[in-house]
């Protein structure tokens, strides 16, 4: 059981990092970004293709991250240009449309053929409970914690953080004070896309070569974000890792393994019910 739980750590780390990205974007531009993992998966697949054609890991990873950032920025540009004033529901709908569009185009471009996997992060880091934990697992866990600390610090203590908060809470006022809303919004999308791609690079070697499966990693990321109620980065990290570990444990039994995809949904429902616990029954439901 413990052994199986440990195998879920790498996925948990990636869910946590992607969850932090989801919360960050929600807090900055009030968008529930369904296309996050799809944009990041584009970055991962560009890395795979470049690696397959002999490019060294470093430059290929950089181009991959740039691709993830660019795809995310394109979605961000659409949002900033045409839907800046729209409500969360409309923006989320656009996010879903972007998810479907990126998924369809990318499947046609990349297919799901087996590709060589870069081995830079697949070496053993250490042994835990009879399982060799890989470098990518350590990178995903440590990376997501560092990301949560860094993002919290930037938002709370830096000028750019204050500006971004102003942008999200009072966009009109911020614009009247001379801030470039569009540029900052698009930049936030690009940065989030880049971070999500880095998370994808950490988890990619242990996931499949299927684009649609990678892009659906956004579902457990949402569940993690809900554990943090779309506000708290640390709770999001804990939620992400917990989902990964629970899925790992479920995979040990062949009966439960078939239902491990249900884990994020159960957590989503529980988190929503928990968030509404103070509400009057009739109003909330």
């Amino acid at each position: 059981m413990i052994q199986a739980g440990i195998t879920g750590l790498s996925a948990g780390g990636a869910y946590a990092a992607l969850g932090v990205c989801v919360v960050l974007l929600y807090r900055m531009v009030a968008v529930v970004n369904f296309s996050l993992a799809a944009a990041a998966a584009d970055g991962w697949f560009v890395l795979l293709v470049l690696h397959q054609h002999g490019m060294a890991y470093g430059p290929a990873a950089l181009i991959g991250v740039a691709t993830g950032a660019a795809v995310s920025a394109i979605v961000g540009t659409i949002m900033a240009l045409w839907f800046a004033e729209a409500d969360v529901r409309t923006k989320s709908t656009i996010g879903i449309a972007a998810f479907i569009a990126i998924n369809t185009i990318s499947f046609r471009v990349f297919g799901d053929n087996a590709r060589p996997i870069p081995t830079q992060l697949t070496g053993r880091a250490f042994e835990l409970g009879g399982v060799y934990v890989t470098g990518s697992t350590v990178a995903a866990i440590v990376g997501s914690v560092v990301l949560a600390i860094a993002v919290s610090a930037v938002l709370a203590k830096t000028r750019i953080g204050s500006e971004l908060r102003a942008l999200s809470e009072r966009p009109r006022t911020a614009e009247l004070m001379g801030m470039s809303v569009r540029l900052r919004t698009i930049s936030v999308w690009a940065v989030v896309g880049a971070i999500a791609t880095i998370a994808m690079l950490a988890i990619g070697p242990q996931q499949s070569s299927s684009f649609s499966a990678m892009s659906l990693l956004v579902v457990p990321a949402f569940a993690a974000a809900l554990v943090g109620l779309f506000r708290n980065f640390y709770a999001t990290v804990i939620g992400g890792i917990a989902i990964g570990v629970i899925q790992g444990m479920a995979s040990e039994s062949s009966t439960f393994a078939q239902y491990q995809d249900v884990v994020p949904f159960v957590i989503i429902v529980v988190a929503i019910l928990w968030a509404q616990r103070g509400e009057v029954w009739d109003v909330a439901r």
Partner: protein, 403 residues
Amino acid sequence: MRSKALALMAASIGVVVGIAGTSASAWASTATGSPIKVGAISALSGPITIADPQNTAKAYFKYINAHGGINGHPIDYISLDDAANPANAATDARQLVEQDGVVAEVGGSSLLECAVNANFYVQQKVLDIPGIGVDQDCFGSPDVSPVNTGPFNGTEAGLEYLYKDLHKTKLCDIGNNVSASYNAGVIASIKKWEASTGQKVLLTDLSIVPGKSNMTTYVLEAKKHGCTGVVWGLTSTAPQLVQAAHTQGINFSDPSSPKDVAWIGLTTIYSSQLATALGASGNGLMSESEFEPATPQDANAPGIAAWESVAKAGGAPISSTGEGGYVAAKLFVDVAKTIKGAITRASFTAAMHKVSDYVSPLTGTPYSFTPGPAHNSNRAIKVVILKGGVWQSLTSNWVVVPS
């Protein structure tokens, strides 16, 4: 569509030639008659894709059309995608059979098409000859007879090879969770093998969801059960599985060694793309080949050169599943050529039902589509092993399972 355009072009040329009074024999190499419609339903998108069979069948039909067609009639090949969606599979079959009026379905490869459409084919009296049949109904229906060995005979043959040839006694089966009927078929094959040998398979786990499952879990599971030989079926997740095995210290580079774990994949593992993707990291990984393998050792085997040249000319990859599409397409053409008179659904069905021992140099047992409740005439595999990113033959004789 291309073949349609080709036929149209060829027909116009024929008319011009006729008017000019030139001998028609100058153009005899291109088919000019009315097209023979042939369909196929395959998993071309979705969670698991098997596109090579219809690609190779298409390449073969293109070749035949360029060489006079079937008695002068070109083949119009209509290949549809079901995206592993039962509703699509049902719609596709109705389009092919009712709207397009295909003579038969040939060279398809779907994860669920047989289960969805087998009864419809019986009602419509249309035959389906999949290049790669997957689900249990492909091998258990009156009007479906795939040319491939399939995952059920394949599972049994894989266990047999590990036990008899490699002397592995701690055997396990790890595979994809394709569908309830598929899983039941695999389990029935394992039980059949256990009954025939008196051996017990230590672990049967058919819960892998491609793209979602963590391969490390399965590698650790095999390690925990002490498996020394594993039959497994994966394609797109194979690199992750190999990676996980290396990380968790499971050595498989020399399957004949008692110390190493022998991993033998069902036939979908055997593809040049996967070999290139794995490179040296896949050394020792074995795969079944349900057809004569295109390895350096078997390059001169009968039928290989013809298949490879057709596939390459048509831009189809060289893979075991592609070979299935080729065998099915060639079978269709060979049988259709024996028909005297018009090639219709009825005449083709009648001719096909007389086929009881069609021998292809690319398969281990003769093909049969005589009337009966079930068809799985291909019961043989060969085994290939990955060395330095190239598949090599391990067996010179076919491993045949009892019917």
